[in-house]
Subunit: 245 residues, 2 copies
Amino acid sequence: MARLNLTIDRSSPVPLYHQLVEGIEKAIYDGTLESGSRLDNEIELAAQLRVSRPTMRKALAHLVDSGLLVRKRGVGTQVVASQVRRQLELSSLFDDLQRTGGTPSTKVLQFEHSPADDATCEKLQLEPGSHVYAFTRLRSIDGKPLALMRNWVRDDITELDTAALTERGLYDILRDAGTNFRLAHQRVGAVTADNEQAERLGVAPGAALVTMDRTAVDDVGQCVETGSHVYRADSYSFEMTLVHR
Amino acid sequence: MARLNLTIDRSSPVPLYHQLVEGIEKAIYDGTLESGSRLDNEIELAAQLRVSRPTMRKALAHLVDSGLLVRKRGVGTQVVASQVRRQLELSSLFDDLQRTGGTPSTKVLQFEHSPADDATCEKLQLEPGSHVYAFTRLRSIDGKPLALMRNWVRDDITELDTAALTERGLYDILRDAGTNFRLAHQRVGAVTADNEQAERLGVAPGAALVTMDRTAVDDVGQCVETGSHVYRADSYSFEMTLVHR
DNA sequence: CAGTGGTCTAGACCACTGC
DNA sequence: CAGTGGTCTAGACCACTGC
């Protein structure tokens, strides 16, 4: 039962519970806390680290949610098996593409700013006839085509154009314009490539593609963006970790 | 700004915060709390419902996590747009298949209880040469083939056989045997059907299939099960909601 | 039975938001 | 500036687990 050896900085603007999370994460990843090992009980941990029990609990709950710890009443708190943890990785929200490591590039195949059809207005919760940005991008990694992405974005957040979308990711642009994303709903499926998709993505017609439809919501409950993407199945898959509450 | 009108039962074994969650969920779904409307601030809500502020906060945090509310410091708490909520649905852990509504049936195509290969031992974190259950099932809904599922399960939880797997879902059996699932790591992708898969699933060779590989962990950090599944893409997709913390 | 996490309270102080 | 959610404390009591 390894004793935690963290230093907490009370003058830091970083919340105590978050310092605890980071410290424990680090201890798990560098091996101080071994895979499968048990932690002291939360009351003792709180005393050792000189924080209140609720603060300690908040940190532990966060680590449970992110899949690093499992807890059981009457039993204790354990570090989850490393085999599983290794898969978790850093799969944070919306950075699917960066994760792969290569250099991404984007080509804007089509761009317009025009009245949205009814289905799009419904999805983005806009008045019928509202204008939206609609565009199609081809995303490549190290020059190799990976994804064909069609998106619709509300036009009252920031101005979009082909140049901006070529230079930067959509979420990057929207975040800079003050959007705080909170929720995304995704549907992932499969399809075979039609002739156009095959040509754009450099695969044979009939090759398997991963499809992803997404709608994203910001911190004031507003639908900001909806998109319909296809990815080459030979070089892309979605990873996710489900935590049972 | 709709006033919440819930009744809290302090003699109930159901935790207060959970009663609050259920009450607010109900108010959202039956329209008492309209899409996009603002709730009173958490201190007032706590006073109205005669609970402490931390308890109220715990309930609200849960609703934020499940995608029904969005909060912003200095601004307030709002109900998220109904278009998004409608998609969230009840996508709880591991009930992917039940969700579709039809009557599921299962045919066990292959079943063995034998020493696992090294890759499987690694995944399930077992000593090399340990025995595991390995089996392949065909899952149909209303008689229509939907999924071809290959699984490996540790053998020290409960006894498995073809009859049990034909009658009941794997997770159902394992839960009954005392397993409390906590985590699952999934990878979802796409592939085209080979001849055998096509025949089993009743599609043409080359048709698109959704692939899913999963490893599941219980509440003591142990890997219980790993599986590799393929689904007909024309009748199946994965839905998920990502919440940004 | 002792050990553990789970729930709940009543408060204090603070940081961010929007006018 | 008033209004809001975010952080933190120190405690009480309870329910489940495994021996």
